[in-house]
Symmetry: C2
Subunit: 254 residues, 2 copies
């Protein structure tokens, strides 16, 4: 008969620094997350009740709950009333975020390269005007980029942005991703509406992507909004499906 489970957080050396400006609940959640990541807390193990954990750390129960809740929201923990809080059996890695292709590639160690083909300001077409919520015919930025990895074209990216939000420097666009530029310009991204589909390549697209006409392409259209609800970007992207696919993890909201 196996020894009854002991609280695995007991052997974890959890500590909080009350002089730090970092919120206590955040300190705790980070340590718990690190422990889960590094195997200190094994999948399926029970965390031991909140009251005792709070007492041991010298925290209040609401603070401990806030820490745990943030990890539940991330999908790392599961709470069961009357039972306890358990570590989810791994598999959870990247709970779908608003990823830029650039970051995705970089994270995959691919050292992405970007070639800006067009960077101009022109009157908004009807479709662009609707997507961005600007008057038709008004000025908008248009950026066309070819993204490469290992010298091979991976995607062709067309983006439209309202003017006045940020200045689109071609050099910067080639050095980093569009989202990073927007973030560093003080724009707080909030949400995006995406549509992913597929279609056959036109002759022009085929040439740019080194594909053949009629070859299947992966398409993505996206409108991104900041936290005031303004549309800050409208993208129309095509990807070579042999080189790229959308991978993500998503959580069932309880």
């Amino acid at each position: 008969m196996p020894k009854p489970d002991v609280d695995p957080t007991r052997s974890l050396d959890l500590r909080v620094d009350r002089s730090s400006p970092v919120p206590l609940y955040f300190q705790l959640s980070q340590q718990l997350e690190a422990a889960i990541e590094h195997g200190g807390l094994t999948p399926g193990s029970l965390l031991g009740n909140e009251i005792e954990l709070a007492a041991r750390l010298g925290l209040s129960r609401p603070t401990v709950r806030q820490a745990i809740q943030s990890l539940v929201d991330k999908g790392l923990l599961v709470r069961r009333r009357g039972v306890g809080t358990q570590v989810v059996h791994s598999q959870v890695k990247r709970p779908l975020e608003l990823s830029s292709l650039y970051d995705d590639l970089e994270a995959a160690g691919q050292r992405p390269a970007t070639k800006v083909l067009v960077n101009t300001v022109l009157p908004a077409s009807a479709a662009v005007a609707v997507a961005l919520g600007v008057p038709e015919g008004g000025d908008v930025h248009r950026v066309e980029r070819l993204r490469l990895a290992h010298g091979e074209p991976m995607a062709y990216l067309v983006n439209h942005l309202p003017t006045g939000l940020l200045d689109l420097d071609t050099e910067q666009l080639e050095a980093t991703g569009l989202y990073r530029l927007m973030r560093s310009a003080g724009i707080t991204l909030h949400s995006a509406r995406q549509s992913i589909g597929a279609r056959a390549a036109t002759a022009g697209e085929a040439e740019r992507l080194k594909e053949t006409e009629g070859a299947p392409l992966l398409t993505m259209q996206r409108t991104t909004f900041d936290d005031t609800g303004r549309a800050v970007e409208f993208g129309d992207h095509i990807y070579r499906p042999t080189r790229y696919s959308f991978e993500f993890q998503l959580l069932v909201r309880p």
Copy 2:
């Protein structure tokens, strides 16, 4: 000069029923969400501070905060310290959930039809075994379905499931979606890992979907996990891109 903004929740007739078993914070969040949905709270408007709102409803501030927080998590509200809580400028509709194709179609009013082509148990191939975390060669369910809308084929769905979780009745599979079956069998879905791509149709696929060989297809592979971390389903789906695309909204987690 416009009249200074008054708290728009004042004109909202918010009430909570303390005799109801529904949590107070949930009652409040539902009413606020309904008000946002129906225009009672217009985008961009400030909500008025939490303290006063709590006082007016006879609730404590933590309870009101919990209600507001849940809407912030949904992307409907934005909080700014020192400023207040505002309604996001709409556009937010469906914050990407683990959607079944069946539910998607039904929500779109398409009355989906399902034709079960294969419903059997067979030894797991290597790929299926890895995805489901079961021994290779062990028994697994295999289900192949053709999904139609308006009589036209839309998708070809191949799914593998571990045995012993639920009994897959062909009739039920044709009457509803797989996810609904799993849920009603007491399985609590937790997360899923998805991969969306594109490729050309093979001859066999083309025939089943009324496409031509080489036509672009949208593909999705998905492994779904329950809250104990078990893989409960592995799906390999192909969609006709002229009939279906993946549409979803996603939030930037703060």
